[in-house]
Amino acid sequence: MDFVFTEEQQMIRDTAESFLAEVSTSEAVRKAMVSSVGFDEALWQKICADMYWQAIHIPEEFGGMGLGYVELTAMMEQMGRYLLCAPFYSTVCLGVNTLLLAANEEQKAEYLAAICEGRLTATLAYCGVRGGRNAEDISATYSQQGDDFVLEGECGFVVDGLTAGLLLVAAREKGSSGESGISLFAVPADTAGVSRSNLPVLDQTRKMASVRLESVKLAQANLLGSAGQAWPVLDKVLDLATIALAAEQVGGSQQLLDSAVAYSKERVQFNRPIASFQAIKHKAADMMLRVEAGRSAVYYAACVADESLQGGELAGELKEAASIAKAYCSDAYFKNAGEAMQIHGGVGFTWEYDVHLYFKRAKASEHMLGNAAYHRERVAQVILD
């Protein structure tokens, strides 16, 4: 047992931190978030070429770095901290994870290589327009026509769905319900019948899209895994993505703590820095508690994710570890955002200061992939039912 970053992991984290501090400045984020694609394509290409982050946990045989989930979450934490606008979460945490778990060797070779080379971004489209994390929330349908599949329906809340080159689509066999009849398809975004539109949301730092599927014809080669059997795999992908998201939440929580503390040390009221008031100190202490506890939850979940991808003995804990991390970090992030805004006082209510960017991101992330109450109920099912 060694529950601390290895030297190499620490280096990866530190490199991410210093790179992002330089490129993902407040100015850069604000520029990216109002652009139609939501990120700076040149920066993304730089990340792909110079940092090779998109390849972090892709096995070496497919051209990746072959690192683990601990390394991935260490980076996600920094991305959350600096609000990086880039198709990383969609491509790596949703896309690559889906491909790793669901694709056959040929599909992996094709898509993972393209991702490694920075030629392809990907995302996962699974729920309908009302969102949700359960099998029942999958509303797009497919039917088999000879050897082909025909997809119909609309997917909501597709992260970076407007720009992703590859859409990994979950659809259910017409007439099926619950966890049965679900399949995953690799759908190049330019496939006939696919139309995409921006879904404008409160948090501008992560772009969402709606994807319409109208008689989208797909070949067997587009099917990932066995038809109708995809739910367990998709469920696992969502848990892995949840852990990455929780890491991002920790990074955001940390940044809110740091900025609130820094501001409180500068801001003078009643002839003293407000950092000297117990009311502020105790808020900050609670914020730090939430950050550190959240971080512990995420590190553990990252280790479990690692074992899950490699079939280790803790693989069976994936669901629980993901829900623990997401339940805790969702609340931690939003509470920290609220407190940071309160500590900032009036200026925290302005567009000019960055607090609101995190405040909005916190709420958006809270509701993505199930909010805290949802994940607590999932934990309750494990221990009470």
Binding site: G132, P200, V201, L202, V268, T350, E352
Partner: protein, 396 residues
């Protein structure tokens, strides 16, 4: 202790309700439920006209004494007025700073000349006011006023220099009341004056503050050798703090009941949504909704105590002391509920590029409630010190 209203009161209720019904029609219909918190920037022109329509019906300043143009309504009927106003969804009042703050201050502390000059415009709904209290760097420390007022003997006027911030409706207002330091060597709450300043003059600049909503209800106001007639100081130089403190008391008046009716309208929207999307069947969400509902009811009961108690010795009663902290916290929680009840779909905007839904506006805007007019932390200090006699902070 008695809750019911008299038959006379009920008759009055019918009167205002039917007037509102008749007048909130036609072109005015679009103003219904608009112009509240987070929505104050909407329809400014139309809402200015609405003020004048109200004035025609003699529905402005209903609580003011008749001699100053009001209706001199007893508290019960003021309560009814504000309740019916909000129940009807009548628009947020652009005149509320004049009617609720500037006017009562002038009535209490102003000269006859000031009363004659300013009160009629407020009553008529033709002259709008804004308030110049907060300064950048002062925030909750209200006494830390840096804006200066120097009397220029040659001009016979006060010359004002400084900056105010968080001034709502400044760009729509005709006048601003401003606290400024008349004695440059004074500190804290001594040596302040309370000035009535015309906004339309070269020395006054208004700059909107872009808020987290992407809109701008609040402004910065810069005074750069702005002028103020010698007659337009309320009280004497040095009285500013006393006047300002008197004014703060008016914020806990009958209009709080109107505020609560507006809150009720907001909560009703949330409840309707929850019923529509199924959140009302989720036991955890039910607890949150019921909690907000019952705390709003209690807010109302508390205000009723506050109002019934006001005939007392004039000191701020305990139920009044907690009021700001209570409602600000409630409203913040409501904002959270308003988006949470919608789940992921609560994140979807009304329209591109960044037009918020009403409930999203609410959700964001309520974050200012726990800050302006004394942060929650300041409120707790005040409660502990004034309400419980606990010692002040040691000096730094």
């Amino acid at each position: 202790m008695k809750l019911s209203f008299s038959p006379e009161d009920e008759k009055f209720r019918e009167e205002i309700a039917s007037w509102l019904k008749a007048n909130l029609s036609g072109g005015v219909e679009q103003l219904k439920f608009r112009g509240g918190p987070g929505d104050e920037h909407m329809f400014p022109e139309e809402r200015k006209q609405w003020e004048q329509k109200l004035a025609e019906g003699k529905w402005t300043c209903v609580g003011w004494p008749k001699e100053h143009g009001g209706r001199g309504l007893p508290i019960e009927q003021q309560v009814i007025f504000f309740e019916e106003y909000a129940r009807a969804g009548a628009p947020g009042r652009v005149g509320h700073i004049g009617e609720g703050l500037a006017g009562p201050t002038i009535i209490a502390f102003g000269s006859d000349k000031q009363k004659q000059k300013y009160l009629p415009g407020i009553v008529a709904g033709t002259e709008l006011w804004c308030q110049g209290y907060s300064e950048p760097g002062a925030g909750s420390d209200l006494a830390n006023v840096k804006t200066k007022a120097r009397f220029d003997e040659s001009k016979g006027k006060w010359i004002i220099n400084g900056q105010k911030v968080w001034t709502s409706l400044a760009h729509e207002s005709d006048y601003c009341f401003v606290i400024a330091r008349t004695d440059p060597d004074s500190k804290a709450h001594k040596g302040l004056g309370f000035f009535l300043i015309k906004m339309d003059q070269p020395g006054v600049t208004v700059r909107p503050i872009e808020q987290i909503t992407g809109t701008s209800e609040f402004n910065e106001v810069f005074f750069d050798d702005a002028e103020c007639d010698a007659d337009d100081i309320v009280g004497e130089p040095g009285d500013g703090w006393k006047v300002a403190m008197g004014l703060l008391g008016y914020e806990r008046g009958v209009s709080t009941l109107g505020q609560q009716m507006a809150f009720k309208n907001e909560l009703d929207q949330v409840v309707a949504l929850a019923k529509e999307n199924g959140a009302a069947n989720d036991p955890v969400m039910r607890q949150r909704i019921a909690d907000l509902y019952l705390r709003l009811k209690i807010m109302r009961f508390n205000s009723m105590r506050m109002l019934s108690d006001s005939a007392g010795d004039g000191s701020l009663q305990k139920e009044a002391l907690i009021y700001k902290l209570y409602w600000a916290t409630w409203h913040r929680d409501l904002g959270e509920l308003a988006v949470d009840v919608q789940g992921e779909t609560g994140q979807v905007l009304e329209a591109e590029p960044y037009e918020l839904t009403r409930l999203q506006s609410l959700y964001l805007f309520v974050r200012s409630d726990t800050i302006y007019g004394g942060t929650n932390e300041i409120q707790r200090n005040i409660i502990a010190e004034r309400g419980l006699g606990m010692p002040k902070e040691p000096k730094w």
